[in-house]
């Protein structure tokens, strides 16, 4: 009994050592995953940011067909990187809407003419209210919304070529 107790501090140390070693080896996930995945899109209504495109509201996502909701900004560099992939998705027939974060009409116009325009609607979110209500922590982020307005998937960061299959699968599954 007594010799068994003698090992206790050592075992406690070994346990602590194990926890620390595991923590050091496991890569840290610094991404903040939205807790809104699996829930209904929060109700919002954003005005248009450019004249040629309508603004965006929740009703647009309740038309029975899954859509992408892209959170982006003209001042965001990874958004330029993902633009070709969004154009690819558009060419595949995926409907894409967007929320422009802290942006202006002329800046968005310039961004779209430089990088292509994959969007059907763009909502103007000047003070990030809709971004916050989505549980999004930066730009770009892309949400897959099913035909009934439920958030199915959140993609954090720019969409790369290798991310396309996952998005397509989520869109397919959301029908």
């Amino acid at each position: 009994m007594k010799t068994g107790l003698l090992w206790l501090p050592f075992l406690a140390f070994a346990l602590l050592f194990g926890v620390v070693a595991y923590g050091l080896r496991a890569p840290a996930d610094r991404l903040i995953h939205s807790k809104m995945v699996g829930k209904d899109l929060p109700a919002f209504s954003l005005p248009a940011i450019i004249k040629t495109k309508p603004g965006l509201d929740t009703a647009a996502f309740k038309q029975g067909k899954p859509r992408l909701l892209n959170v982006f900004a003209s001042w965001c560099i990874p958004c330029i990187a993902e633009a070709p992939q969004l154009m690819r998705l558009k060419a595949m027939g995926v409907p894409i809407d967007a929320v422009a974060i802290r942006d202006t009409g002329p800046a968005i116009q310039g961004f779209l003419s430089r990088n292509g325009d994959p969007y059907e609607r763009i909502g103007d979110d000047k003070i990030s209210q809709v971004q916050l209500s989505l549980g999004s922590s930066g730009v770009p982020e892309t949400f897959v919304i099913d035909g009934q307005g439920k958030i199915v998937l959140q993609h954090i960061g720019d969409i790369r070529e290798e991310d396309i299959p996952e998005l397509l699968a989520a869109l397919q599954g959301a029908k």
Partner: protein
């Protein structure tokens, strides 16, 4: 703002990235290469190169950096803001952070306090979206329980050990 491992997300990119090019200013090409001119060019380049933008150019939201008129309401908002985590910087509260999104979160908090919402309800709204991660005052759950239980447990073990050693001393 801490430098994080990924640059895939503008929310995680520090405000100033290393300038894209440090092109030296063209030097007069007379005689042997003018070494100090090149150095000058690089130094000039360092000053002239614009950092890549990772923040918007828009002015902060109305209540981001403006206190509420009513000191009692402002105190309420402030108390909440120091316990909400900035989701961009991740190591700072939204009261401390200069990030655009933190400013927008402050504006939202003040707006809602002004509208009569309770701090608890605003915190709940944030936690619903970002998880417990967003609050510096985490609720008791299966994950946080060890934090509360461990000190009590250690204190109990300490008491038990102390009792044992006092007993031995009495016997001696």
């Amino acid at each position: 703002m801490s430098l994080l491992h990924t640059t895939r997300h503008a929310g995680l990119v520090p405000a100033s990235i290393v300038p894209r090019e440090l092109r030296p200013v063209r030097v007069r090409n007379d005689g042997p290469r003018n070494k100090s001119g090149v150095t000058m060019g690089i130094v000039l380049g360092l000053f002239l190169a614009a950092p890549a933008a990772a923040d918007s150019g828009l002015p902060p939201a109305a209540l981001a950096n403006t206190q509420l008129r009513d000191p009692a309401l402002e105190a309420k908002a402030q108390a909440l803001m120091v316990t909400l985590r900035c989701v961009v910087c991740q190591g700072q509260s939204i009261a401390d952070s200069d990030a655009d999104l933190a400013g927008d979160m402050r504006a939202m908090v003040r707006q809602r306090i002004l509208a009569g919402e309770t701090p608890a309800s605003i915190r709940r709204w944030m936690v619903e979206r970002y998880g417990d991660y967003v609050t510096y005052d985490p609720p008791l759950s299966a994950v946080t329980a060890p934090l509360w239980i461990a000190p009590i447990l250690l204190l109990a073990i300490g008491g038990w050990l102390a009792r044992g050693s006092f007993k031995r001393r009495r016997r001696a």
